[in-house]
């Protein structure tokens, strides 16, 4: 995996975690038959889905946990790619921070998978991400995307908290959202000094929140797998 030609990179999610980021262009080149790959991909997706409406997040608290799991999968995949293919001119401090954040997001992802399984319930499958709009060689592109993901994550947790019926899950979500907010502040500072609050707070200096449909509409740009959120609680 080189730092060149990364704008079309995809991250392949396998059984337990990302084994290795694979350039889609190169992957297709290896196999050589685009149509065959697309057909395989389609059948794989179908196997993962309960129906034709996409991966079902489920209902109740489990639905919210799967929703969080989906977002953490996205973040973990992103930072895994960022660390694997550092942007040009990256500093050692930036490498350290981005590696830390990668590990935090992986911890979150694996935590949700384990917690949902222990519920007991069914965790959604590994999602296929689409990072074709991100230029991983560019600091501005990477940090801009990181900022968007972190801010989105904070608003997502804040906006979904009241939908949880279990105080135990609410506390666990609370433990994670403040770390996402720390990430958001850090990334914002790496982009622009003193932007740690920026446009993410309202006139009362309260962090903005977003509903699951609002969040998924934004995150959808980066998630190839279709997600069915229709069974999530709405309050």
């Amino acid at each position: 995996m080189q730092t060149t030609k990364t704008s079309n990179d995809q991250v392949a999610l396998t059984d337990e975690r990302i084994i290795q980021p694979v350039s889609r262009r190169r992957f297709l080149g290896y196999v050589g038959a685009t149509s065959a790959i697309l057909a395989t991909g389609a059948s794989c997706n179908k196997n993962n889905n309960d129906d034709n409406n996409g991966v079902d997040l489920g209902s109740g608290d489990v639905g919210i946990l799967n929703y969080a799991y989906a977002l953490e999968q996205l973040e973990a995949a992103f930072y895994t790619q960022v660390v694997a293919t550092p942007f040009s001119g990256i500093t050692s401090a930036e490498t350290g921070f981005l590696t830390d954040i990668r590990d935090h997001e992986i911890a979150h992802r694996e935590f949700f998978k384990a917690a949902i399984t222990a519920a007991p319930a069914t965790a959604i499958p590994n999602l296929e991400v689409d990072f074709s709009s991100i230029n991983f060689t560019s600091r501005a592109s990477v940090l801009g995307t990181a900022m968007a993901f972190e801010d989105l994550g904070v608003s997502a947790y804040d906006g979904a908290g009241y939908l949880l019926k279990s105080a135990t899950y609410l506390l666990l979500a609370g433990k994670i959202v403040s770390v996402e907010a720390r990430h958001a502040a850090l990334i914002r500072e790496l982009v622009t000094a003193n932007s740690f609050l920026g446009d993410q707070v309202d006139a009362s200096s309260v962090n903005i929140s977003r509903t699951p449909p609002e969040v998924l509409a934004i995150a959808g740009t980066y998630i190839k797998t279709k997600i069915n959120a229709s069974n999530l609680p709405t309050g």
């Binding site: 609370g174 403040s178 003193n194």
Partner: protein, 283 residues
């Protein structure tokens, strides 16, 4: 207008608020035109009655208690930055640092105003700020307002504690769309403050290896703050709802202990927090 602000806040988390208050939007419009002529002191009562009617019941006492607790802490934080900014003056480096302290100062002041408004709207009387606080915590931090290094160190401890304090009481707001969402929104902003203060301490070389997130337990370099990172569920905790984070697969092995503690912030109970801030004159 406070009344307009609170309705806007509520509308963000409850798009039906206006319809709840009155099925006729025209009636709301009339109310606002009427409200603008009402004495400002009469408004909280009016809006409180409206909200009670809108949600069909009085705001539970437990919810009010959490809001008052939050306001108690925000009063203290707001005063810390207000008085500290004035007292330190030129000791705060001009430029980005000076601006950052003002941003946080103003953010805390807005939290105070917001919570006062919300509590009034809920039909209760907001707790008042103390006349005086002891920012040295009984002499533990004698240079808190004469040394920028100490000021930032205590600020970090207070912000991290604030994050833990909100988290510890979220469960009491379970299912409360308006109040829980607002509390989580402030909680996230406190975490943004904490990360910024930590990053400033790092960039200023006060604690060169400090990270914006809590690594292990008390990473503040302030031994007197050990309790702020301890508690029934300490920041060193790696057991999250029965899942041992250090047993989960990471890259190149399991999730490290540092990453496991950084990735989850931990709560403090009200009793723990009140004991920690008591030396500052907060109660």
């Amino acid at each position: 207008m406070k009344i307009a602000n609170i309705l806007e806040e509520i509308e963000k988390v409850d798009g039906d608020i206006y319809e709840r208050i009155s099925p006729r939007r025209r009636a709301m419009k009339d109310f606002f035109s009427f409200g603008s002529k009402v004495a400002i002191t009469a408004m909280p009562i009016g809006i409180g009655a409206m909200l009670k009617k809108a949600y069909g019941q009085a705001v539970p006492a437990g919810v009010i208690a959490v809001l008052q607790y939050a306001l108690t802490l925000e009063h203290f934080e707001a005063r810390y930055y207000k008085d500290g900014f004035t007292a330190l003056g030129a000791l705060i480096p001009a430029g980005a640092d000076n601006s950052a302290i003002q941003i946080i100062r103003d953010s805390e002041a807005k939290h105070v105003t917001f919570l006062q408004t919300v509590i009034s709207a809920a039909g209760a009387t907001p707790v008042a700020a103390k006349v005086t606080y002891d920012f040295t915590a009984g002499g533990t931090f004698p240079t808190v307002f004469t040394s920028y290094v100490t000021f930032l160190a205590v600020a970090q401890v207070l912000e991290d504690t604030g994050v833990r304090a909100y988290k510890g009481r979220a469960g009491e707001l379970l299912g409360q769309k308006v109040y829980l969402t607002a509390a989580l929104g402030i909680h996230a902003v406190e975490a943004r403050h904490a990360a910024k203060i930590r990053y400033m301490r790092r960039l200023n070389g006060h604690v060169p290896a400090l990270k914006p997130y809590i690594t292990g337990g008390n990473d503040s370099g302030v031994p007197a703050a050990n309790g702020n990172y301890a508690g029934a569920i300490p920041e060193t905790n790696v057991n999250q709802g029965g899942v041992i984070i250090t047993s989960l697969p990471g890259i190149g092995g399991n999730i490290s202990l540092n990453a496991a503690t950084e990735a989850f912030d931990e709560p403090l109970t009200a009793a723990e927090v009140l004991a920690l801030v008591a030396p500052f004159g907060v109660s």
